[in-house]
């Protein structure tokens, strides 16, 4: 008999440390002789050239060890993100990946750009010394929109990107610079089919610049040790790729670059690569033998780490009068911020997730981005999909209203399903119960009852309901590399050391992996120890992004553990003189012949004798079968089993003030199989807070000179516990995925899209007005009510 832990609501393997406060993050690291490294950033200028840096006075401050300018550190350029490692080199050119960031920059491209650094005995000394550094700048014009920076006379951000065009769909790979395909029957595109449509809807939307705001501030510790190895500790999402990037940046072979992952205090894409690791490492190289810690302040987070892609997003859709979707034509122009980083990724994905949702006859979406003098844009949970949700799900509702069709029924009829293409052409859905999700969520939300109830309302407080569906992905195959390595070492006492790089961002990845290992072997959870977060020990893994931890990491774990089990059974079959197929192993690790329990052997004995293998003089033989058992898997995914989900939301709008109160949210997610249900729910609940923030309250604001006006929690407003609606998450497991490990699909990023689209639709329902600018603030709502001269009875 085996006791299964997959699917059970067990405590997470790492919770107790965190509850007690004994869990250590990068900022808690204390090392002998540790120095503090301060990055001096351009705070006054968002766009400037650095003319001179004078360290004279700073160097005199007691306790200052070294001052470093742009020429005192590696001259290699880098890109914070690991993307270039995940595509073949030829594709890098297609995507136009560049590495134009430097540890310290002479061309300042955004407020917060790093200019120089100070290494001192402690942070306070570094701060006081920093005040004495004299930097002369030559200010340059500031560009805050794509429109401004694409002007022909605009200052060029980098010679590698003429016209400040940071990214676009390269026509060599994307004909017409668009993602999409003509109608297979007629070979026509949207503009040709438009005259044949009975209803056409379109609008121009604006998406806001929002920030991940993970609670752990960015921190990296680095040490160039006495063996000539560069060691770096931080909480990146992508440990192995960052090891490679750092090795490249400092011209080191991988054998001399060690990367250790500290506990990740939240990431959400902000750590999809490097943040201050380059600076910590550059400083460590300057003071060999002494560790240097670089710890960013909270206010640096908004101006010196990456944000979501804001921009202008146009979309047009055409339908037949019976609701048949004919075409969708769209264009997203993003405001890239100061550096290339994820120049193309989120824009491409925004288009891709349009492709993955509904059965359009033809779809075409263009995407491009232009540099602006703001924090660089990178990855934020959803990666283009939240933007698409805000736009696509609203237009669908507008269309359904014009068509006189029920928007829920329309979605049920026209969303893609098994056999249809997903976000990526050529990859079809493997499993789907979106209709099951819609039905159960609608029922629990009481959608139809509320529709009736709110049909006639009076007074200033108006209720509105809205819904939205979404599709995402589980890992990024085949667009990006998917590769995870796992070694399952069988200890001599028959417990497992699972050596696998698994990025747990609080997501529960460590727990899920260990659960899957335990269930594969049929052994107790306590017998599995996960050794992770050390590049010296762990084989390759991409890291946590594209919602891949369970879907792409799990199979490696399972394969490696199955190998251990197989080797044990093979040895047992020799020792018991039975066929492998006739053997079974229970949770107590006894291997016996099926139906003949007396013919058995303890797997512990096999494990012990494999290591402690003695020669028996009497028999002239070794005792037991020699060799320590180890299972190994180098797993490359061959699908991405996109999950889908449905969200229903209820809001109350005060039409006299424009204020929105969140009443209820129900999200049903087609998870396939929830390995650790509380973690899946946790992802969907937490992501809802982020999606709701994007659609209602969050926005990074800038003045005309490119200064961020709200780089603090005081004025960057996220929803708090009193602002959240009554939220219910339903995990739908009626359609286990045939490919995903134990039937599982992803959930990490899925959480944001439904809340965004459904709340935007709910506000439209409550007010009778459409809002195309996010966030939908009371100011915007009231202004539109007044502009349209609407009075509510």
């Amino acid at each position: 008999m085996t006791t299964s832990v997959v699917g059970k609501r067990i405590p997470k393997v790492d919770s107790m440390d965190k509850a007690l406060g004994t869990a250590e993050y990068a900022g808690d690291i204390r090392m002998k002789g540790m120095l503090y490294g301060k990055i001096i950033r351009s705070l006054e200028y968002a766009h400037a050239r650095v003319k001179s840096i004078d360290f004279k006075e700073a160097e005199k401050v007691p306790g200052v060890v070294k001052c470093l300018g742009p020429d005192d550190v590696t001259q290699n350029g880098y890109n914070t993100t690991i993307m270039k490692l995940l595509v073949p080199e030829a594709f890098n050119e297609v995507f136009g990946e560049i590495s134009e960031m430097y540890v310290f920059n002479k061309h300042v491209k955004h407020q917060g750009d790093a200019v120089c650094g100070i290494i001192a005995e402690n942070e306070e000394i570094a701060e006081r010394a920093a005040e004495k550094v004299k930097i002369k700048y030559e200010p340059l014009p500031v560009y805050l929109t794509a429109e401004q920076s694409k002007q022909p006379d605009a200052v060029q951000f980098t010679p590698l990107k003429p016209g400040n065009l940071a990214g676009e769909f390269d026509p060599s790979f994307f004909p017409g610079k668009a993602y999409g395909w003509p109608d297979p029957e007629t070979d026509k595109w949207g503009d040709d089919l438009e005259p044949e449509c009975d209803v056409v809807v379109s609008d121009e939307f604006y998406l806001n610049k929002v920030k991940q705001c993970q609670m752990e501030n960015n921190c990296a510790v680095a040490l160039y040790d006495t063996r000539g190895r560069l060691n770096c500790w931080s909480s990146t999402q992508m440990p192995k790729p960052v090891q490679v990037l750092l090795a490249d940046l400092f011209d080191l072979p991988l054998s001399r670059m060690r990367y250790i992952t500290t506990i990740v205090g939240g990431a959400f894409g902000a750590r999809l690569g490097m943040v201050c690791e380059p600076h910590a490492c550059a400083m460590a190289m300057a003071v060999p033998g002494r560790p240097v810690k670089v710890e960013m302040t909270r206010e640096e987070d908004w101006i010196a780490s990456e944000t979501r892609f804001p921009g202008d997003y146009k979309m047009k859709m055409g339908f037949k009068k019976d609701g048949t979707p004919v075409f969708v034509d769209a264009h997203f122009t993003g405001y890239k911020g100061g550096y290339y980083t994820h120049g193309n990724g989120p824009i491409f994905c925004a288009a891709a997730f349009v492709h993955g949702m509904y059965k359009w006859q033809t779809m075409r979406m263009k995407g491009d981005s232009y540099f602006t003098n703001q924090s660089p844009v990178g990855a934020f949970r959803g990666y283009g999909n939240p933007q698409t949700s805000f736009v696509q799900e609203q237009l669908i509702d507008v269309a359904c209203e014009k068509l006189g069709l029920d928007s829920v029924e329309w979605r049920k009829k026209w969303h893609k399903t098994i056999g249809d293409e997903t976000w990526l052409k050529g990859v079809t859905y493997a499993s789907d119960d979106l209709n099951g999700c819609i039905d159960i969520a609608a029922e629990q939300f009481k959608w139809y009852q509320k529709k009736k109830k709110y049909a006639k309302q009076k007074g200033p407080k108006r209720r509105g309901i809205g819904m939205a569906v979404m599709n995402h992905t589980s890992g990024a195959w085949p667009m990006l590399l998917e590769h995870t390595v796992c070694t399952a070492k069988l200890n001599e006492d028959c417990t497992i050391e699972l050596m696998q790089s698994v990025s747990d961002l609080g997501t529960g990845g460590h727990t899920a992996i260990v659960q899957m290992a335990a269930d594969t072997l049929g052994w107790p959870l306590e017998d599995i120890h996960l050794k992770t977060g050390d590049s010296d020990v762990n084989g390759f893994d991409i890291g946590a992004h594209a919602s891949r931890t369970v879907y792409c990491g799990g199979p490696a774990t399972i394969e490696a553990c199955e190998s251990v089990k197989k080797q044990l059974l093979e040895r047992a079959s020799q020792l018991l003189e039975a066929r492998v197929e006739d053997l079974e192993m229970d949770s107590k690790k006894i291997i016996s012949v099926k139906g003949n329990p007396s013919k058995s052997i303890d797997a512990r004995q096999i494990a012990k004798q494999g290591v402690y293998n003695f020669f028996d003089a009497a028999s002239g033989k070794q005792i037991g079968i020699p060799g320590q058992i180890q299972g190994y898997s180098s797993f490359l995914a061959n699908h991405c089993s996109p999950p889908m989900g449905a969200t229903f939301s209820e809001v109350e709008v005060d039409v006299e003030t424009g204020e929105v109160k969140l009443i209820e949210l129900v999200n049903a997610h087609d998870i396939g199989k929830a390995i650790h249900p509380p973690s899946v729910e946790g992802q969907l609940e937490g992501g809802a807070q982020q999606g709701l923030g994007q659609v209602l309250t969050e926005d990074m604001l800038y003045d005309e000179e490119g200064h961020c006006l709200n780089s603090d929690f005081t004025d960057y407003k996220m929803l708090g516990p009193s602002d959240m609606p009554k939220a219910k998450i339903i995990l739908v497991e009626t359609a286990p995925d045939p490919i995903g490990p134990m039937g599982a699909k992803s959930c990490g990023e899925s959480a944001l899209m439904g809340p965004i689209g459904s709340v935007a639709n709910a506000i439209a329902d409550a007010t009778g007005l459409r809002f195309v600018e996010a966030p939908i603030t009371p100011e915007r709502i009231l202004r539109k009510i007044k502009e349209n001269g609407i009075t509510y009875e």
């Binding site: 701060e127 424009g658 603090d712 708090g720």
Partner: protein
């Protein structure tokens, strides 16, 4: 450069009596900042605003009391925290506007450290307690080298973060008069999320007898460089029955008495549009 982790260096003085504090203020004057709970002073310091010297009242005994009497009214000591005031049964009963402005201000942590007197001394135009106390007709009591001085809040707020306090004076107490017969009060604010500084706030204190408003005090914050009274609106209420047409007239009167700006929290247009709604709802709440 300002840092939220490393404060600028300053001299921290810890007087053990009011007299000692006054002596220090006489010596340092504007070079010293008085710190009660610290929630405002330290935040300012993280933003780079700090004087060479900070005088903390932490060691002075007897400044943290909240006392109410039928004859003397309410006395709030300089070190009485927002939570102490919010918890006080007399405050809740007799001064609902003040109770609410303290109870919903900030977070449990900042209410446990921050003080009502500090909120008033800060003179931020969006100060919640300042707004409620202005409507309630409160006075600040100072101790200085020349002795005690009382200032009505009507005269205390002069301009943006500028008050009538002299650099050598220490605010030791805020006094709120005994509620008159028929006195009702209410406070409301608007913000972006529950935890937020106010983008708009309003407080009213009315004397109502048999449905007729005998006198009114209406205060608003975040609509001018300082917390203000809407005197024209107050006059419209005087002697009137509080009915729909009076409330309409009051709503119409609000706009000309305020001059809001656009800032990171809201727009001038929105504040102007919504202020009448807020005032009207606050009056309705007071008399409900």
């Amino acid at each position: 450069m300002p840092s939220s982790r490393i404060l600028p260096e300053f001299d921290l003085l810890l007087p053990e009596s009011v007299a000692e504090a006054v002596k220090m203020l006489k010596k340092h004057k504007a070079k010293a900042t008085v710190m009660a709970g610290g929630t405002d002073v330290i935040v300012s310091a993280t933003q780079g605003f700090c004087t060479p010297c900070v005088i903390s009242l932490a060691k002075i005994k007897g400044l943290d009391s909240v006392k109410y009497s039928k004859s003397g009214g309410l006395k709030i000591g300089a070190m009485a925290t927002l939570q102490t005031v919010a918890d006080n049964a007399d405050v809740k009963k007799h001064y609902p506007a003040l109770h609410k402005s303290a109870a919903i201000n900030g977070t449990p942590q900042t209410r446990n450290s921050g003080t009502v007197v500090g909120n008033v001394m800060r003179a931020s135009p969006s100060g919640d307690c300042a707004c409620a106390l202005l409507a309630l007709g409160a006075k600040v009591v100072f101790e200085g080298p020349k002795g005690k001085r009382e200032v009505s809040l009507d005269d205390f707020f002069i301009d943006y973060k500028k008050t009538d306090r002299k650099p050598d004076e220490l605010a030791v107490e805020i006094k709120v008069p005994v509620p008159k017969k028929g006195q009702v009060s209410a406070f409301n604010r608007m913000n972006r999320t529950t935890l937020d500084l106010s983008k708009l706030n309003a407080a009213v204190c009315l004397i109502v007898e048999r449905g007729v408003c005998k006198s009114a005090r209406i205060a608003m914050g975040a609509v001018a460089p300082k917390t203000v009274r809407l005197v024209d609106s107050e006059n419209l209420l005087k002697g009137q029955k509080i009915n729909a047409s009076v409330l309409e007239a009051i709503s119409a009167s609000v706009g000309s008495q305020i001059d809001p700006i656009t800032d990171v929290r809201s727009t001038a247009e929105y504040r102007k549009e919504v202020s009448p709604v807020l005032v009207r709802r606050t009056i309705e709440e007071a008399v409900a």
